[in-house]
Symmetry: C2
Subunit: 477 residues, 2 copies
Amino acid sequence: MQEKAEQARSEVVVAALREALGPAVVSLPADFAGRRHADSSRMPCAEPIALLRPRTTEQVSTALRICHAHQQSVVTQGGLTGLAGGACMLGGEVALSLELMNAIEEIDPVSATMTVQAGVPLQAVQEAADAAGFMFPLDLGARGSATVGGNLGTNAGGNRVIRYGMMREQALDVEAVLADGSVVGGLRKMIKNNTGYDLKDLLIGSEGTLGVMTRAVLRLRPKPRAVSTAWCGLPDYESVTTLLRLAQERLPAGVSAFEVMWPGYYDFVLATLTELRAPLAGRHAFYVLLESSGADPEGQAAVFESFLGEMLESGTLDDAALAANESHAAAFWAIRDAPGEYGRFLPGRVSFDVSFAVAQVGVAAQHCEARLREQFPDARILIYGHLGDGNLHIVVQEPDWPASASAEVKRIVYGVTGELNGSVSAEHGIGTKKLEVLALSRTPAELAAMRAVKAALDPRGILNPGKIFVSSSERSS
Amino acid sequence: MQEKAEQARSEVVVAALREALGPAVVSLPADFAGRRHADSSRMPCAEPIALLRPRTTEQVSTALRICHAHQQSVVTQGGLTGLAGGACMLGGEVALSLELMNAIEEIDPVSATMTVQAGVPLQAVQEAADAAGFMFPLDLGARGSATVGGNLGTNAGGNRVIRYGMMREQALDVEAVLADGSVVGGLRKMIKNNTGYDLKDLLIGSEGTLGVMTRAVLRLRPKPRAVSTAWCGLPDYESVTTLLRLAQERLPAGVSAFEVMWPGYYDFVLATLTELRAPLAGRHAFYVLLESSGADPEGQAAVFESFLGEMLESGTLDDAALAANESHAAAFWAIRDAPGEYGRFLPGRVSFDVSFAVAQVGVAAQHCEARLREQFPDARILIYGHLGDGNLHIVVQEPDWPASASAEVKRIVYGVTGELNGSVSAEHGIGTKKLEVLALSRTPAELAAMRAVKAALDPRGILNPGKIFVSSSERSS
C-alpha cells in the first residue's frame, strides 16, 4: 500500500520535472538503462527514478524547487570517482548530474582566477590554467574524470596539500542552489571577505547534503619554473619528521610533496610491478619522496643538492637519489602512484584514509601493523601517506580470507584512529562507507550541531539523504 | 512595567550565575565600575549587567547553559581591539571575557602546532612560536592586546595574508561552547580532516554569534631565514599588477607582502610624520612595498636584486630602493604603518576596509576618489592596501565638515563597492558598524541561509544579538 503511494508520488514528481525542464534535461529509466550510476567506492548503488542533466543554474534551481515541493530526494553526481559512496543512490532518488555544465567561463589573469561550471573535469582546469601561464595545484589520480563539483563536494586533497591546501583553499567563492531552489554565492574573486558566516566552506565538503554547487571561482597559482625531486632512505621515524621539518625550514622553494612509504609497501610494489626499478640499493626503515617546486631553477637545485648532502652527513638520511631529469622524477613517482594499479593485483583489499597529528603518525602505523599482524599473520599490510598533512593510507589484503575479516580489519584500524584522536577520513569524505565510524572522530555535540545545520538548510531532508550521518528529519520520520 | 520585569529577570540570571560560578568569576557592575568595555570601533557601548571571567571551558559551558535557560544574551570579549563593534554591548547583556583563559597549553614541534586558550594575546603566541624555532604568521598592529579568540571571532587578516592566508588557515581546530552549553571541537592537530561539515570555519569569523571559542590548535610555520624588502615607484596601475604577478612567479621565496599606496596617502604621511624619510626621490603614480621571506639568504637576495633590475629595465618600475639592512626595511614599513598614528592627526575620519578582485582594485580606487572629490573637494583621501588580497583601505577626512558628511562618504564608497561586486568588509568583520551595508555584499538568499544557521545553533538568540545581521529570532520577537 505504502509502496504504491510512493510509486504514485514518484510519477507525479518526475512528470512535474519533465513538464518544467523538458525531456532533454530529464531522462527516464528507459532512456538511460545500462548507464553507470555507481561511483568508485565499490558500494551498492540503486538506479535513479530519473536522471537530470541541467545546463544552467536556473534549471538546477527549478529542479530543486520542484523536488523540495514534493519532498523528493536528490543525489548530485560529478565524475563518479568518489571513494566513500557519497554519490551512490540508496533507492528512490533523482540523480542530478552536472556533466553538461562543464564550461570554463572566464580566466582573469590579473586577479589570477578561473570561473568554472561544476561539471568541468579537474584535468581540463589544470590544462587551461597551464595554457594561461598559471597552475591549478589540486591534483589526484582520477583527474581525467573527477569534476570540480565533486572536488568541492568532498573537499578533495591529493599530493600537494602540504604546499597549497585542500580544495577549500583553491576556491574563492562557490555558487550553489540550496534545497528550496534559492541560489547563494556571487562568484566573487576576493581572497579576503569577512561578511558574515563562511557559507562557502560550509558547502565545500558537505558531500551534496547542503546544496548543489553549480559554479566556482578558483584561485590560480604561479606556475613553478623548477622542480627538484629526491628519493630518500631513512633509518627511523624520528629521522622522517626531522627531514620534513628541516626541508620546510631550509629549502628555498619549500616542500611541495613529502610522500612517506613504509617498507612493506615499497617491497610489495617493487616485487609486483616488475617494470619499476628500485631507486636505491639496500633496504631502509622508511622511504620518502621529497619534492620542492619553485621559481629559481639554478639556485633551487644547488641548495636542494647541498641540503641532501647535509642530511646524509648528519645521518638523518641513510641514502638518497637525486632525480637528474624529469624521467628520473617520473620513475620515483611511479612507485608512489602504484595504488592506481591495485585493481589488478589486490582483490578484496580493505583500504583506509586516516589522519593523525604528524607526531602521532609513526606510532599509529606501528599500532595498526602490530594489531593487524596479530590477527592476520599472512596479510599484506601496505602503509604510505602524505606525511606533511598527517594523512596515512593503509591497505590490508589476504588472498583467501573469510568474509568476516573485513569487519575485523576495520575494527582494528579505526580503533587505533579513535584512540589516537585521529580522523577516520582525511580526504575521501564520509559518504555511506564511513557512516558507522564517524562518531570515532566527532563528538555527539558536534554531530548534533551538524544535524542542526542540515535541518536548517534542508528542512525536508531531500539532499543526498543517508550520507555523512542520518539527519534529524530522517530520524524523526 | 516591562522594564521592571526585565530587571527582575536580570537579577535572577545574575544570581544564578553567581551561585553556580562564584563571585571570583561573576562580577557585578559595582565591582567593575569604570572598567572599559568598549572596543576600538568608536561605536557606542553599554555597560554589561555582569562581567564573567571564566578560567575553564567547563565554566564557560556552565555560564552559557544558565544564560540559555534564562534567554539571557551574552557578548564575548577578547582584547577589545575590534574595529566593527562586534564586542560592544547594546544594553542588558552579560559580558563574557576570556582574559583569564590565556595559557599556551602545548607546543608540539613535530606536528608544528601550538594549543592555546582563547584569551592569549596574539603577540604572546608569536613570541612563543619564535622561541620554539617557528613562526606564527598572523600579524596586525594591535598584536599586544588582540587575543587569539578575537582573531578567530573576526577571522583576522593583516599584512601576510598573501602568503599565509587569514586566521581560518592558521587554526587546525577550535574548541567552542555553543549556546546551550554543549562543547564542540576536539583540539585535533590534523591538516586533513574530511569528517562532515566544517564547523571550525563556520565558527571562525562568526563574531561571537554562533559559539564561544575557548581553545584552538594553531598551525606553526617554518621561520624565514631571510627577508628581502624593496620600496618601489611605479608609473600606472597596470604596472602594479604586472609587478605582483611577476614577483609571485619569479621570486624563489614568493611574495610575503605587497602593500600598495596611492600618492595621496604617501604625500600626506611624509608631510605629517616628519620623522619619516622618502625612500625615493621624485613622485610616482603608485608606491609598492614588496617583501619576500624565505629560507636561502644568499640565493634569495641575489635573485631579488636582479629581479628589481629587470623590472626597472622593462619600465614596470620607475624607480626602486632595496633595503640593505633591517633598519632600512623598518623605515619602509614605518611609512606603511602610519595608520597606527591616525588618532593623533585625523580626527573625525571615516575609514573603509573593502575588497575587490585584484583586477578591479585600481578602477575601484579611481571611482571612489573621483566621486568623493566631486562632493568634498578639500577632503583628505588616503588610499592604500594589501593588493595581493584585493584589500583596499580608504580613509576620508576633512577638518571641519558637517555631521552629515560621514553618511554621504559611506554612501559613495559602499556604492562603488556594491557596483563592482566587492566586499564591504575584507578583514574587519560586520559587527554593528556595517550592519546596514552587508546587503551590498550578500544576497537575500545568502542572508536567509546565514539566519537559518544562526537559528539552528542559537535558537534563543542569546549569542551577541544584533551583530552581523538581525537574526530571525530577534526579528520575530
